[in-house]
Amino acid sequence: MTEYQRILADMTKGLAPFTKGRVEVNENTELVGDLELDSLQIMELLLFVEDSFDISIPVSILPDVKTVGDLAKQVEKIIGNS
């Protein structure tokens, strides 16, 4: 399992409370388009990600994140840099 896949798996688990079981989550799932997360739920998701990977997510990465995979890639990059 690569680092990316491990992050993706953890993130998918973390998304469970938000999907209400309606949507199957994979790396192409759009956070807003598919999961319909609102801005406060995005904050809760970021909180989960920051806490579980012990990182701090800079605000500047969000505009170019659309899918679960995009976010996992960013997390991988942040972990790699730290």
């Binding site: 807003v32 388009g33 609102d38 801005s39 406060l40 605000v59 969000l62 505009p63 170019d64």
Partner: protein, 588 residues
């Protein structure tokens, strides 16, 4: 004085008590207010998301840094009053640049630093519109956000667009600084306007100082007061209420980044506990976020007994929320009478009124039908009808009136437009004389656009600007949502109506009703999803999308879309839908 520059910044927060005598904003300009505050020990303190103190910025240091930076800004050939756009993140650089402008006779303009997931293009467009609207000469951001700012500034001919650190490399102009004077512009505030048509509120030094005096007395600011804020500096409450007000009364303030608060609301209360803060403001949304997200087991760890001014305003205040917050935080020593319902807007610098201190949330219960049909505030017994919160009397030296749609002044308990006049009122919207004329009369009365009534001298707001949506504490203009819909290839202008409806917890829920000829379910689904996503990317809100057949949206007699009609029809459709659903359930 040179010695001070060499002193290492201490790792502990600035004290709020100092030997400097308290002065309640009695200065002619922001620069002279900072000159005075710089003689004491107080200042601004910035906390990281971890809750740790990251940077300490005493007003004394801020003044020195701002004056140096002012000379660097003046190394560019700038006319007096030229605009300096600052992407307003919660960090010391915002304060440095804001006050550098004050000392240099330039006009700071705070730009939003809120970016939504997938919102790259939307954010750049928004910044572009603001930079263009204020004809900024210089623009600055953190290095993180610089790529967006640079992209936004393309083609606008600014003299310099760069990260804060790059400004520190500039040469200092050898000159005597001439701070912005009482009649000059203190700042331009782009706030609650629609993103499609941004309006910059012009606030002079005199206006903002008058407002700061009003809030200093209104909140009875004392020597031992200390503030905490997580509000962004590009909002009037964050800028005027939580940066300029503490500075102009020489009090210390502890800052938490807005996003850190949104992620971990408990940080706000932890900081209040640790710093023994006495004053903190928030829109209802912030208190609601605490109610929703605080862990019950943590509550006993907080000590909020020092909190004497829990300001609440900027959106409709519901007594159910303040009651729930008070109950939840009672074990932490929170005093429900600390709530100070407040009313204000950027067009009046910030504050228009504060409820009297120590009274908490005072509610009028009104007959709902008399309210809707006759525009009358008729009292009924508590817990029946509709409830509205009293926001106290208008600030001293200011006046308030209620007028009907024909301009007639109404008596107490009659609902109409709230109109205010006084020294805090803006000079107008920047370079928009027609927009200014719509709200500001020749004799100085500002039409707030809000509806309300007066009782015993108190202002009560019953409805905010006719069509505006307030979602999670942010003002959203229906025009902006509708513009996203009508730019879709399959829709045309006039095909969309955006309204808000009350959600399960009385919060506003945005609904976009779209009329189209599409009957194929798959195609409908794709359009709905696309609209939902684009609205979120641009405005950061979840919006319910309803597709209806063409010619469904109601129009006014003059042929314009009627949002209130659309809203009424939508609620009727929902009601008949739920009745139909329950019929089905019964049969099953």
């Amino acid at each position: 004085m040179n010695q001070i520059l060499n002193v290492e910044i201490t790792p502990s927060a600035t004290p709020t008590l100092s030997a400097l005598p308290l002065c309640l904003a009695d200065f002619d300009t922001l620069a002279s207010a900072l000159d005075y505050a710089a003689q004491g020990e107080s200042g601004a303190n910035f906390y990281a998301g971890s809750g740790k103190l990251a940077t300490v910025l005493p007003y004394r240091v801020l003044r020195e840094q701002a004056q140096t930076l002012a000379k660097r800004l003046l190394s560019f050939p700038l006319e007096r009053g030229a605009r300096v756009a600052i992407v307003a993140e919660t960090n010391p650089d915002f304060l440095r640049f804001f006050f550098a402008c004050q000392y240099a006779g330039l006009v700071p303009v705070a730009l939003p630093a809120v970016i939504h997931v997938g919102g790259h293009k939307a954010y750049v467009n928004q910044l572009h519109g603001l930079l263009n609207g204020c004809h900024a000469s210089l623009a600055v951001s953190s290095s993180q956000l610089l790529p967006f700012l640079t992209e936004a500034a393309e083609g606008l001919g600014l003299q310099f667009v760069n990260a804060a650190s790059a400004f520190d490399e500039l040469p200092e102009k050898k000159c005597q600084l001439q701070p912005s004077g009482p009649n000059e512009m203190a700042y331009l505030q782009y706030t609650s306007g629609s993103t499609g048509f941004p309006r910059g509120v012009i606030i002079t030094q005199q206006a903002v100082m008058a407002n700061l005096v009003g809030s200093g007395y209104g909140l009875d600011v004392r020597v031992d007061d200390r503030c905490v804020s997580w509000l962004p500096f590009y909002h009037d409450m964050g800028l005027v209420g939580c940066l300029l007000a503490p500075m102009a009364t020489q009090r210390s303030i502890d800052y938490l980044d807005t996003r850190d608060f949104a992620m971990r609301p408990r940080r706000w209360l932890e900081l209040m506990t640790n710093s023994r803060a006495t004053i903190s403001f928030s829109p209802p949304f912030g208190y609601a976020l605490c109610v929703r997200r605080l862990r019950p087991e943590d509550i006993a760890l907080y000590d909020l007994s020092a909190w004497r001014v829990a300001g609440i305003g900027a959106e409709p205040i519901h007594v159910e929320l303040t009651n729930r917050f008070s109950e939840l935080l009672a074990p932490a020593g929170f005093n429900p009478l600390a709530f100070v319902p407040s009313y204000g807007m950027a067009e009046s610098s910030l504050a228009i009124s504060f409820a009297p201190l120590g009274t908490g949330v005072v509610v009028d219960w009104l007959d709902s039908e008399d309210l809707a049909d006759n525009f009358l505030a008729t009292k009924v017994s508590p817990n029946t009808g509709s409830s509205f919160v009293r926001c106290g009397p208008v600030l001293p030296k200011h006046e308030v009136m209620i007028r009907d749609e024909h301009g007639k002044v109404l008596a107490d308990m009659h609902i109409g437009r709230i109109i205010v006049r006084g020294p805090s009122v803006m000079s107008g919207y920047f370079e928009l004389p027609e927009q200014t004329q719509l709200v500001l009369s020749a004799d100085g009365w500002l039409d707030t656009g809000d509806l309300g009534y007066l009782i015993d001298g108190d202002i009560v707001v019953t409805g905010r600007h006719k069509d505006m949506l307030i979602i999670n504490g942010r003002n959203i203009w229906p025009q902006d949502i509708e513009a996203i819909a009508t730019r879709q290839p399959e829709l045309r202008s006039g095909d969309a109506s955006a309204v808000s409806i009350p959600g399960p917890e009385q919060e506003d829920v945005a609904v976009l009703i779209v009329q189209c000829n599409i009957t194929d379910a798959d195609v409908q689904h794709h359009l709905t999803q696309r609209l939902h996503r684009e609205i979120h990317e641009e405005l950061g809100i979840n919006c319910v999308i309803e597709l209806v057949p063409r010619h469904t949206l109601p129009r006014t007699s003059s042929g314009k879309l009627s949002r209130s009609g659309s809203r009424k029809d939508y609620l009727l459709r929902q009601k008949s839908q739920s009745t139909a659903d329950s019929e089905v359930t019964k049969k099953a």
